[in-house]
């Protein structure tokens, strides 16, 4: 079991309020991603749940138990750190077995669980090595192994992939998702990368300056962003925002159109502009366009479109794909 509830959790470091007050429900077995720009308090929130930081006020419940004042070890959670935080003087085997040793488990049981974790994570051949002799991806697996063996009620991941190179990051992303599918344990995952959030999460919590901006499934956030911030943060490349006359036509202060939601034409359309840079990726072409009033726009076109710097282009938003925002940023 691993349901976690935060009730008006607040955290201040001295006079600086990092988390002004968060309410959140995490169901058992959910994969929840905290996402937001750096400094938004997502790591602090995770550390509050872990018990590595004390809450200033509010309550944290795990499986109905109030753990607000319990130490990290008492909460039954396991954490994977950004730096992996492996014990450099211990072999992989001892690293993975460490939490079991601390729990005073029998040697035989330790052996069994380590072997099981090593098999799941493809670490069988590396058990006697030291962390220093492993690659980044392998170290990450050891860190996950150390978390798995405890059979925690929830896993906490703090930007676990940010130290890996791009290709490995995609692999590990899939591996962690598969791990979640097979273990069915609650996972809370912190990242600043909205692609990780979109691809892995059952539920995304978007944070800004310690405030929860929106909570929902990836597709909910994509299709119904609650405000301009969420609209701009979710989706890649970012949503385009148009203010002024162009927005007024749609009875809004600002309108947002995703790069993939433009109809492009060389003859005519709602907006007109000039192509600044055309990025031909093969599968897609990303056009960096300057509208006539200077607003920069990114539009996605099909991969083999023959279009280049300096070409004149017309853009029209697809039907029903316009996001309208009021002056205060909230969606209309």
């Amino acid at each position: 079991m691993g349901s976690i509830t935060l009730k008006n959790v607040r955290k201040a470091f001295g006079d600086v309020e990092v988390i002004p007050g968060v309410d959140l429900n995490i169901e058992d077995g959910e994969f929840v991603v905290f996402v937001g720009p750096s400094g938004c308090g997502k790591s602090t929130l995770l550390r509050l749940i872990a018990g590595l930081e004390d809450v200033t006020s509010g309550q944290i419940n795990i499986d109905g138990q109030d753990v607000t004042d319990a130490g990290p070890a008492k909460r039954g959670l396991a954490m994977v750190f950004q730096s992996y935080a492996l014990y450099p003087h211990m072999s992989v085997r001892k690293n993975i077995a460490f939490p079991l040793k601390m729990a005073k488990m029998s040697e035989a049981e330790q052996e069994k669980r380590v072997a099981h974790a090593a098999r799941i994570l493809n670490l069988d051949n590396y058990l006697d090595r030291k962390p220093g002799q492993l690659s980044g991806g392998q170290r990450q697996r050891v860190a996950i192994g150390r978390a798995i063996v405890r059979e925690p009620s929830a896993f906490l991941f703090d930007e676990p992939l940010s130290n890996l190179d791009a290709a490995l990051r995609v692999n590990m992303r899939v591996e962690i998702s598969e791990l979640h599918n097979s273990l069915k344990t609650t996972m809370i995952y912190v990242t600043h990368d909205q692609v990780e959030a979109m691809t892995m999460a059952d539920k995304i919590v978007v944070l800004r300056a310690g405030n929860v901006e929106q909570v929902g499934s990836p597709m909910e956030l994509y299709s119904k962003p609650a405000n301009k911030f969420v609209g701009g943060f979710i989706g890649s490349p970012n949503m385009n925002f148009i203010v002024g006359e162009g927005a007024a036509k749609h009875a809004a202060h600002t309108i947002g159109v995703r790069p993939e939601h433009w109809q492009l034409s060389t003859e005519g359309g709602e907006f007109s502009g000039t192509v600044g840079v055309a990025e031909h990726l093969g599968s897609d072409t990303f056009l960096h366009i300057h509208l006539d009033d200077g607003t920069p726009i990114i539009a996605r076109a099909e991969g083999e479109r023959d279009i280049h710097h300096g070409d004149k282009i017309f853009l029209t938003p697809q039907d029903g794909r316009i996001y309208r925002f009021a002056e205060n940023g909230l969606a209309i």
């Binding site: 590595l52 990290p72 070890a73 730096s83 492996l86 014990y87 150390r146």
Partner: protein, 274 residues
């Protein structure tokens, strides 16, 4: 970044470096040479070629028992080091991983005690030793040398501990380790290189300490530093014998230093280069 240096300049610097090294080492070298001279040769004047007699060594060993001060030195150096580590490891741990606003001040204050001349507290300590019966005991010297070196030990350990990433200790906490388990299983093994060089340096400092050992001992607890001093006797100076005693006193620590020089250098420059 390496700079291109001409061979000529390199040779020039090498010679200069050797010259400076020799200059620094010369007093020790001359003591070694003198220890192989006869007393007459020793007072005759500057001469680098001794007659290679072992008389002085023989006499030092027959008149005075070398083994007793040697054992005292070992016990005092090792004892004060072990005691200092027992106190300093938790202290440095607390200062490195849960610092408060005053931590830096406390560290500075501890270091400031080393700026005071030791003789300033001689009388109080002397009186305390007299009253408590610690005078001329190994226990007394272990305690006083431990206290004298404690600020340096805490400082060195604090610097090493600061290099250990906090996330690893947090990981241990998440893994269910108690505070003492965290120190025993994670922190200490990771700090071993630092602790080892601190230990070596402290042994050397304690071994060579001559102020307190001479003031607070007579015969029973006198270590090698006091043993050397006893040769500058009122009957006049016997240079060859004094040199032989000095060589016998410094030989063990020189040998230890030689074998552990890698560890020492690594420890002293730890964290300086990333």
């Amino acid at each position: 970044m390496a700079r291109a240096v001409s061979t000529k300049t390199k040779i020039g610097w090498t010679i200069a470096a050797w010259f400076v090294a020799l200059l620094i080492f010369f007093p020790i070298l001359y003591a070694i040479i003198t220890s192989f001279k006869t007393e007459n040769e020793a007072i005759a004047g500057f001469d680098l070629i001794p007659s290679f007699t072992l008389d002085s060594y023989r006499e030092v060993q027959s008149q005075y028992n070398y083994i007793r001060p040697f054992m005292n030195s070992v016990i005092i150096a090792v004892g004060s080091t072990v005691l200092a580590l027992i106190v300093a490891v938790p202290a440095a741990w607390a200062m490195a991983f849960s610092p408060t606003k005053r931590t830096k001040d406390i560290l500075m204050w501890m270091l400031s005690t080393k700026m005071m001349p030791a003789v300033a507290v001689l009388v109080p300590i002397y009186l305390i030793f007299l009253r408590t019966g610690l005078m001329d005991t190994r226990t007394g010297l272990v305690i006083v040398l431990m206290l004298m070196n404690l600020p340096i030990v805490v400082w060195m350990l604090y610097t090493y501990f600061r290099e250990i990433p906090g996330e690893i200790l947090e990981a241990a906490r998440m893994d269910g380790a108690t505070l003492s388990q965290e120190i025993v299983h994670v922190l200490t093994p990771m700090a071993v290189p630092g602790i080892a060089s601190t230990m070596l340096l402290n042994v050397i400092l304690a071994w060579n300490e001559a102020f307190w050992t001479i003031q607070l001992t007579t015969t029973n607890a006198a270590p090698l530093s006091a043993f050397i001093a006893s040769f500058s006797s009122p009957q006049g100076l016997f240079w060859a014998k004094l040199s032989a005693a000095s060589v016998m006193a410094i030989a063990p620590i020189l040998i230890m230093g030689w074998f552990s020089q890698k560890q020492l250098v690594r420890g002293l420059t730890f964290g300086a280069v990333k």
